[in-house]
C-alpha cells in the first residue's frame, strides 16, 4: 500500500477520476446552458436567476471548489506524466509510425488539453470573472444580467468561432480520454467494453455538439 500512492498507476488513476468528474461537471453545465434556448424576457429572467443560484448556493459553491481542484489536479498530473514519458525516450525515432497503429487523438492528448486550457481561460474571463468581479448591470428583476453578457458575446462571429472550434477540440479530447479512463480504472472488461464504447461515444458526441449549438443558435437568430 505504501508504494500505491506514489506509483505512476495511482497518478494515472487520479487523472482518470478527475477527468470523469469533469465530464459529469460538463453534463451539469450543459443542462444549465440549455436555458439559453428559452426566448425573450422569460429566458433572460430564468437564466439570471439560475446564474444567481449557481453563484450563491453553498452546495454549488462547494461543488465549484471541487471542480476547480479537479481541473488543477488533472492538469498537474497529466503534465507530470507527460514529462515522465518524454524522459522515457531520450533518443527519438528517425522514422515515426505516426497514426498507423493508434488514433490521432490518443497521440495528441497533451496538445488538445492545452488548447482546452487556453479556451478555459478565455471562457472564464468572459463569464465567470464578469459574474464574480466584473461590473454587470442588473436586470429589471434586480439580478446580475449574465444573460445579456452571454448573448452579446455570442453575437460576435470571432467568439462563436473560438467556441465552436474549442468544442471540436473537446470532442477529440473526450473521444480518447473517456474510454481510456474506464481502461485505466480497470472497468473496461471484454463483457462491458461494447457498452462502455457505446455510452462514451454517445456522450462524446452529445456534449460538445449541444454546447456548440447554443452560440450557433444565438448567432443565427441575431443575423
Amino acid at each position: 500500500m505504501k508504494t500505491y500512492f506514489t506509483s505512476t498507476l495511482f497518478r494515472k488513476t487520479l487523472a482518470s477520476l478527475s477527468g470523469v468528474f469533469l465530464v459529469l461537471f460538463l453534463a451539469g453545465h450543459l443542462a444549465g446552458n440549455l436555458q439559453l434556448f428559452i426566448p425573450g424576457e422569460a429566458g433572460q429572467k430564468q437564466f439570471n436567476e439560475y446564474a444567481f443560484f449557481m453563484t450563491t448556493n453553498p452546495v454549488v459553491n462547494l461543488l465549484s471548489i471541487i471542480t476547480y481542484s479537479a481541473i488543477i489536479l488533472h492538469v498537474l498530473l497529466t503534465f507530470y506524466l507527460t514529462i515522465q514519458s518524454r524522459n522515457a525516450r531520450p533518443v527519438k525515432y528517425a522514422v515515426s509510425s505516426g497514426t498507423t497503429n493508434s488514433s490521432w487523438a490518443s497521440n495528441n492528448m497533451a496538445v488538445l488539453g492545452t488548447l482546452l486550457l487556453i479556451f478555459l481561460v478565455i471562457h472564464l474571463r468572459s463569464f465567470w470573472y464578469e459574474m464574480h468581479f466584473g461590473s454587470i448591470e442588473k436586470d429589471i428583476w434586480g439580478k446580475k444580467d449574465l444573460y445579456t453578457v452571454t448573448v452579446s458575446a455570442f453575437h460576435e462571429l470571432w467568439y462563436v468561432s473560438i467556441y465552436v472550434i474549442s468544442m471540436v477540440v473537446l470532442g477529440l479530447h473526450l473521444k480518447h480520454g473517456l474510454e481510456s479512463a474506464f481502461q485505466t480504472l480497470g472497468f473496461r472488461t471484454r463483457k462491458y467494453s461494447s457498452s462502455i464504447k457505446a455510452i462514451t461515444t454517445g456522450l462524446v458526441l452529445l456534449i460538445p455538439i449541444t454546447f456548440a449549438s447554443i452560440p450557433i443558435f444565438i448567432y443565427i437568430k441575431n443575423i
Partner: protein, 250 residues
C-alpha cells in the same frame, strides 16, 4: 525469380553511451524468399568481405518464438507485417528500389549496446521482482488434477504467448512496458497456481516497472497493434484492476 535491390539506412553505434548515426548501404540481388534477418546476413557478408565491421543485431531461434530479434523497420517494431517477429518477416513484403530505415528499440530502460542491439535486462528485473510461484514438490501431479475452465485456460494462454521482445515498449509513444507487464501478471493471476502470491506479485512488478524508468500507459493501443504475438490491451485493463485490487486489499 524476382530479385530485390534495396537501399538501407541503418543505425550504427560502436558501443553503449557512444555517439551513433545512420549509415547508408546498398544490397543487390536479394531473394524475395529471404527473411529480413537473412537480408541483413547478406549485408554483413558484404561488409566482412570489405573488411568492415558487420551490423550487430540480436537474433536467436529465427522461428518467431524466442523474442530476441528487435529492430524498428520504417518506424514499426518488427516491420510492416502484422503479428510477426522480424525473423518471420520476408523480403517479398518489400519492393525493388525501396529505402528501408532500421533503428534499435528506443527507450531509456533499453540502452543501446551496439548498433541495433539493446540491453533488455530491465524486463528480466521486472520478472525477478515478481518473485517465486509456490509449487508443491514431490512426484509430478496427475494431468488435469486442477480443474481450470476452458475460457480461463485460453485467456491465460493468450497472455503467456508474450515472448518479452519489447516491441510494445518500442511502439509506445511513452515507452511504456505496460503490455509486457500485464501479460506476465495476467498469465499467473488467471490460474489457480498463481493465486498464493497474486497480490504481492503485481505490486512488486508494477513498482519495478516504474523504477526502471518506463513511461506510463495512455491507452493508445499502439503496443497491441505492433505486438508480434498480438497480446490484447485487455491484459493492461486487467493489470490496472489487479494493481488497484491488490493495494486496496493490502
Amino acid at each position: 525469380m524476382e530479385e530485390l535491390n534495396l537501399k538501407l539506412k541503418i543505425w550504427r553505434q560502436p558501443g553503449p553511451n557512444q555517439k551513433g548515426d545512420f549509415v547508408a548501404y546498398k544490397v543487390n540481388g536479394l531473394n524475395t524468399h529471404m527473411s529480413f534477418l537473412e537480408m541483413l546476413d547478406v549485408l554483413n557478408e558484404q561488409l566482412v568481405n570489405l573488411g568492415q565491421d558487420p551490423v550487430a543485431f540480436d537474433h536467436d531461434c529465427r522461428e518467431g518464438i524466442c523474442g530476441m530479434c528487435s529492430m524498428v523497420i520504417n518506424g514499426k517494431p518488427h516491420g510492416p507485417q502484422k503479428g510477426t517477429t522480424t525473423c518471420q518477416l520476408h523480403m517479398r513484403h518489400f519492393n525493388n528500389g525501396d529505402t528501408i530505415t532500421i533503428e534499435p528499440w528506443r527507450a531509456k530502460p533499453f540502452p543501446v549496446l551496439k548498433d541495433l542491439i539493446v540491453d533488455r535486462s530491465s524486463f528480466d528485473r521486472i520478472i525477478q521482482a515478481g518473485g517465486y510461484v509456490s509449487v508443491n514438490t514431490g512426484s509430478a501431479p496427475d494431468g488435469n488434477s486442477i480443474p481450470i475452465g476452458k475460457e480461463i485456460a485460453e485467456d491465460a494462454f493468450d497472455a503467456a504467448a508474450c515472448i518479452g521482445c519489447g516491441a510494445c515498449v518500442a511502439a509506445c509513444k511513452n515507452a511504456s512496458a505496460s503490455l509486457f507487464v500485464s501479460a506476465k501478471v495476467s498469465q499467473l493471476a488467471l490460474l489457480p497456481q498463481g493465486q498464493p502470491e497474486r497480490e504481492e506479485r503485481v505490486v512488486k512488478m508494477v513498482s519495478k516497472m516504474d523504477e526502471e524508468g518506463f513511461g506510463h500507459c495512455t491507452n493508445t493501443g499502439a503496443c497491441e497493434a505492433e505486438c508480434p504475438k498480438e497480446i490484447s490491451l485487455e491484459y493492461i485493463r486487467k493489470l490496472n484492476w489487479e494493481y488497484h485490487r491488490s493495494n486496496i486489499k493490502g
